[in-house]
Symmetry: C2
Subunit: 233 residues, 2 copies
């Protein structure tokens, strides 16, 4: 018994979370079905559905038709990361944004890149290397390959003022992508650009973007030492 009628899905969600955390419903337990809960809470089944769906999205409940709803045995922590434009990220921290183009060329990428992008091993791509700065200090190296077949007009953009990061967001279509986070040791060259000791541990983000089945771009971001990516969960 809750004692009070729960009128909106947020209240229902809150009560469900309370029961899970208080172990009234233990991991592996089956919980009452939507109709019964709606009855108990004095609201429509739709409202309970909305609440349970929301809890399930966070990974704490397993729901299956016919089988019912159970409290997850091994609640995977689910973290949602927002990956903004680099400029926005820097400005959001109240720091001054700066940008420098380091290198730009049209060339045949190393096999690892053409392999990942599934482009012909001998076809040329646009290569951009640039540095983003926060308060005039090196913040991150952007190391990017662009498939000019997917974004032909990229060839006419100098990328001296606007970063490819920002330009692509504005002009390139994409449908999906994948992203990987890792750590890597700074090469002599990267260390020089980032003004840090060689072999420093760098936080690395790799991103591959597609428009349907066409590769659009592959980027590696090498962050200056000390960078953290945070989120709540």
């Amino acid at each position: 018994m809750t004692g009070t009628v729960l009128r909106d899905w947020r209240s229902v969600k809150k009560e469900v979370l309370r029961r899970i955390h208080a172990r009234e419903w233990k991991p592996g337990d089956m919980i009452p079905n939507e109709t019964d809960l709606a009855d108990e809470f004095g609201c429509a089944r739709t409202t309970v559905n909305r609440a349970l769906r929301s809890v399930a999205e966070s990974g704490l409940l397993d729901r299956r038709r016919k089988a019912g709803t159970r409290v997850a045995e091994h609640p995977v922590a689910r973290a949602t990361l927002d990956i903004p434009l680099i400029r926005n990220e820097i400005e959001a921290r109240g720091r001054k944004y700066g940008y420098q183009l380091i290198k730009k060329s049209t060339s045949v990428p190393p096999p690892a890149v053409s392999g990942a992008m599934r482009t012909m091993a001998n076809s040329e791509l646009l290569y951009i290397q640039a540095l983003h700065l926060a308060d005039d200090k090196p913040y991150v190296i952007e190391d990017r390959w662009i498939n000019t077949k997917a974004v032909p007009c990229a060839l006419e953009e100098p990328f001296e003022i606007i970063s490819s990061n920002e330009w692509l967001l504005r002009y390139a279509r994409y449908t999906h992508g994948d992203i990987a986070f890792s750590a890597s040791s700074a090469s002599e060259i990267h260390a020089k650009i980032l003004c840090c000791p060689a072999h420093s541990a760098l936080f690395v983000v790799d991103r591959l973007t597609w428009d349907g089945s066409n590769p659009v771009t592959k980027v590696t971001l090498l962050f200056a030492p000390g960078h953290q990516l945070r989120t709540e969960l």
Copy 2:
């Protein structure tokens, strides 16, 4: 005109995404209101609402009452990461899981830890250091502080068979937490444990967990070189 009636929210979502990707609705553009779209698609407003809400959750739409719905100017990429139990993570890759307790003590933590956990600077916490192995090779070091006031029964658990990672998930309450990803250079000690060269770049996950306003545990995971965290977006 779509030509066909869209009967479910997934179809509506798909059509909305198509229009955004095809730039029929450009970044910054206002899109028709729910009632008009429902009319156009031949479905209930609720269905359109469900679809638009779903698209907005992925960051591609900005919705505000009265102001209406606009295509986001700077669509932040939003990645959802699942962070499973280490054992599950290893076994899901078809590798053999192994576990070794390295150190266990009750002691006063360094100020950085008591500060982050907001415990009294002189109060003792339970400290656990352990190694998780995949196919008998070092996979990740788990370096953890546990607030025994929040989880008293942790004092009676030897943690020689079950990792604290797993044990806490089963026996500790928590309501929320935060997580941070970064890179760090391997110390001599960590390098020895992970069987890698000193100063290797390690991928690091820091996690702080709360039960209401009570700190539960703080853990640092130091992954063996080469580790990647991937997701789709």
